[in-house]
């Protein structure tokens, strides 16, 4: 019900305009609407569930995730998100939040990797443990500086590879990430596009994912954002927590370094 009202509100705000001036007004209205909702972002429901999942015993080992090391020590959640992706010695890999959570579910709870990745994203009437955990863990970095480490050679390699993937043109449409996200002040239809090679835009973009998408009624993560971008790029399906996804997130996080993390945010 509430979701329908939001969609109606945004649809109205988008449908009203009567050219350039009106477009600016629309943008202002959307921003005003966002401000109005800042105190009550529906992502809080997801975050609350995520906090419970963290403490809930699950899997063959009947264990919680409370001993999971997200990079700042076992069980430390505060500030973890803004220092990811990073290198983990136990897996000898650079991992983002989701791939790290999969490792913890396998090691601590005894789930198979397939089980841990079974429902990476939520859908109507189908909440996702993973998506809830991501919402909560991200919220525990709100207001902090984005500071992904680059001290390990594999972290630096992930950044370099991520940059290559950002400019990788392929598929029937010849699209790369950079096609839409490589220049300042561009739009698709009326949607503003962040230039992810520009620090200010990258900080605002990376700093506002995960986000509650009003149009979908779900909290979406950075992994989801990449999955859906590649779909629109006409690529095959990006695998959840794949190496390419982690490399690309490493690139984006580093581009956004120094920005303030303000997620889970609210988006159209």
């Amino acid at each position: 019900m509430a979701k329908a009202i939001w969609i109606g509100f945004v649809a109205l705000a988008v449908a009203l305009p009567c050219f350039a001036r009106a477009q600016q007004d629309t943008q202002k209205e959307i921003e005003r609407y966002r401000e109005l909702l800042q105190d009550g972002n529906p992502s809080e429901l997801f975050e609350a569930r995520g906090a419970e999942h963290w403490k809930t015993k699950r899997g063959p080992k009947n264990a919680s995730l409370e001993q999971c090391d997200l990079g700042r020590g076992a069980g430390v959640v505060k500030g973890a998100y803004v220092q990811l992706p990073r290198y983990f010695a136990d897996t000898d890999k650079v991992q983002d939040l989701e791939s790290r959570l999969v490792s913890c579910m396998v090691a601590l709870q005894g789930l198979s990797s397939e089980e841990a990745k079974r429902r990476p994203y939520s859908g109507p009437g189908q909440p996702s443990v993973m998506a809830d955990l991501v919402a909560w863990i991200a919220s525990e970095s709100r207001g902090m500086r984005i500071a992904p480490p680059q001290s390990h050679p594999k972290e630096r390699l992930a950044y370099q590879v991520g940059e290559k993937i950002f400019f990788y043109r392929a598929g029937p449409h010849d699209f790369a990430c950079a096609t839409c996200h490589g220049e300042d002040n561009k739009r698709i239809r009326l949607q503003d596009l962040p230039n992810l090679t520009n620090a200010g835009d990258a900080q605002r973009a990376f700093g506002t994912w995960p986000a509650y998408r009003v149009s979908q009624g779900e909290v979406r993560s950075m992994q989801w954002r990449l999955y859906d971008c590649f779909r629109q790029q006409r690529f095959p399906e990006l695998e959840f927590t794949s190496d390419a996804a982690i490399a690309l997130i490493s690139f984006l996080a580093k581009r956004a370094e120094g920005g303030t993390f303000e997620a889970p945010a609210l988006k159209r």
């Binding site: 990788y168 392929a170 598929g171 010849d174 790369a176 590649f230 095959p236």
Partner: protein
Amino acid sequence: MRLDVVAAAALCAAMLFGCATHASDAEAERAALAMMKTSFRAQGQAGLDRLDRDEVQALCSKHPNGLPRDLAEKLEKAQLATIRYPASGKLMGDWREGERIAQSGVGKQFNDDPSRPSGGNCYACHRLSPQELSFGTIGPSLYRFGKQRGTSDAIRRYAYGKIYNPEAFSACSNMPRFGHNRILTEEQITHLVALLLDPDSPVNK
């Protein structure tokens, strides 16, 4: 290329520490290619072969800030030779059909139905008919395209060719090669040419 290797080796010798901890550009490129191959799965109509890049895609990926002039000219010449004009010789179709094609963004995504025709999604990036306020800005405004240029045979051929294969005119353009990559049919492209050039098209009002 060879010089690059020599230069990189010299740099390595000079700054052993730095090179020991940073992958070379070629290493990063190799790692990226390997990673792309293991990070996607075939879905719907989008097979893994879509990750294989043709010469244009590989070159443009490698030069994100634009191709050197000689490479750009070579690429444009080769791509110009790929353009196929309709056997009928008719380059202007129906602008009304063109407007529908310009509005439609479906096609080629893994969740799209491959039995339905693709759209051109022109409004995603261009301003065209003034009635449509929801247009993107990645490409230039095409409002009054025909009014400014007329409908001569040369302009028709240019408009058709540009939609068929924009790489023939502007190396590493952001615009898809709608004809060359079989996104749109020859007939669909003639409808878009009409949308751009027909004096009755809203684009030229």
